[in-house]
Symmetry: C2
Amino acid sequence: MTGQISVIGLGPGDPRYLTPEAKMALEAADAIYGYGPYLDRVPARPGQRRHASDNREERARADMALQHAASGARVAVVSGGDPGVFAMAAAVCEAIEAGPESWRSLDVTIIPGVTAMLAVAARIGAPLGHDFCAISLSDNLKPWDLVVRRLNVAAEAGFVIALYNAVSKARPWQFGQAIENLRRALPPSTPVIFGHAVGRADERVTVTTLDDAGSQQADMATLVIIGSRETRVIARPGRSPLVYTPRAVAEVSA
Amino acid sequence: MTGQISVIGLGPGDPRYLTPEAKMALEAADAIYGYGPYLDRVPARPGQRRHASDNREERARADMALQHAASGARVAVVSGGDPGVFAMAAAVCEAIEAGPESWRSLDVTIIPGVTAMLAVAARIGAPLGHDFCAISLSDNLKPWDLVVRRLNVAAEAGFVIALYNAVSKARPWQFGQAIENLRRALPPSTPVIFGHAVGRADERVTVTTLDDAGSQQADMATLVIIGSRETRVIARPGRSPLVYTPRAVAEVSA
């Protein structure tokens, strides 16, 4: 029997975001691999084995899951959000390329999900309504100079910027530096959105300006969206503001 | 009674992508507004009214839906994919900002969905596994010079590029020009993915190179992903290749 591996996006936390496709794939799996808190979101099924590992062990987890699948099992690997955005799908592909030839014969399925930036954007309006980019702020996997260069060109060219991995215990200063850089490229009034744990019980979404944004507003569970020069805030009486980026740009503003 | 408007992402076509949250919001609506082919995906419910309009009438559709909601109804507006990505959520926000003050009191909910680039990426591996951007190639809403500038800076800075609205009947030459520009910034062997109608019966995903990419491979239902210098293709015996962008960049390559 040919082994199967599916890499499944769970969406941003609550079961209301889990697609029927992802649900079916989870139910069909003989074993599930993932970061512990993600595994905890998946309802238990008798006979289905679970293999929890630490957040930073993506490549080792991919190797283990592929080895298991190569024995003929149906193996699932789970990611929060979408598995293709700074998550397990790339780790599994890296492992297949570097691994034994037999892993290339496995049946590989990637199952997309609602990634964090879409969920945060939806909570506040439509900040990603025009051209945008997604940048991981982690310099574990790329030089910090490259992160800064990408932030600068994206801001100058008018992209809205979604920042993944903005802050972690091991990376306390990077987000502050990123904001400082962006202040040179964008007006102080540029809207900045902090989306903490969107889709979970402790969800908290706040809107501030680039001038007022600071590291203390972000933690490991926060996705940050930095507006462009075009991004607007609509005040609403008795309701939270709507933040959106218009579909049209009349003139080149930078 | 306060009127309600929800802007709902249907995902990439098949019901297996529709989140439970979106399904519930569709069922609760008194009336649904949208582009005809998107409305056709929503199962009919007795007593629920439908208002189909043309693809290019986003703003007029938003105005009508808001006016209807302001009368106290529960109104839904549907988008394919995610409503926040080049779709109806920004159009609704624009309409609220420009419309009567009373529209600011409406209960507005945006319900995210799996956007096309995530679905196409999932079909082929993990091309969006590293920093990436999403650009609408339509110059109906921004100057073509700005599109070209964004393509160039994104490619040079190492972003993978997802192109929405690559081709339409009214815009036949833009995609060819975009590819020509990108050939100056990226190697000829850069992987290019054409994802046609992903999630629908006529789905077709092909992988080629920047050198071989051409307008004839794209139509109105095609999302295109242009790799970065880091994007890799894994050949697999008897299976389609996997295309992915590694999570790590060792050195600044541009």
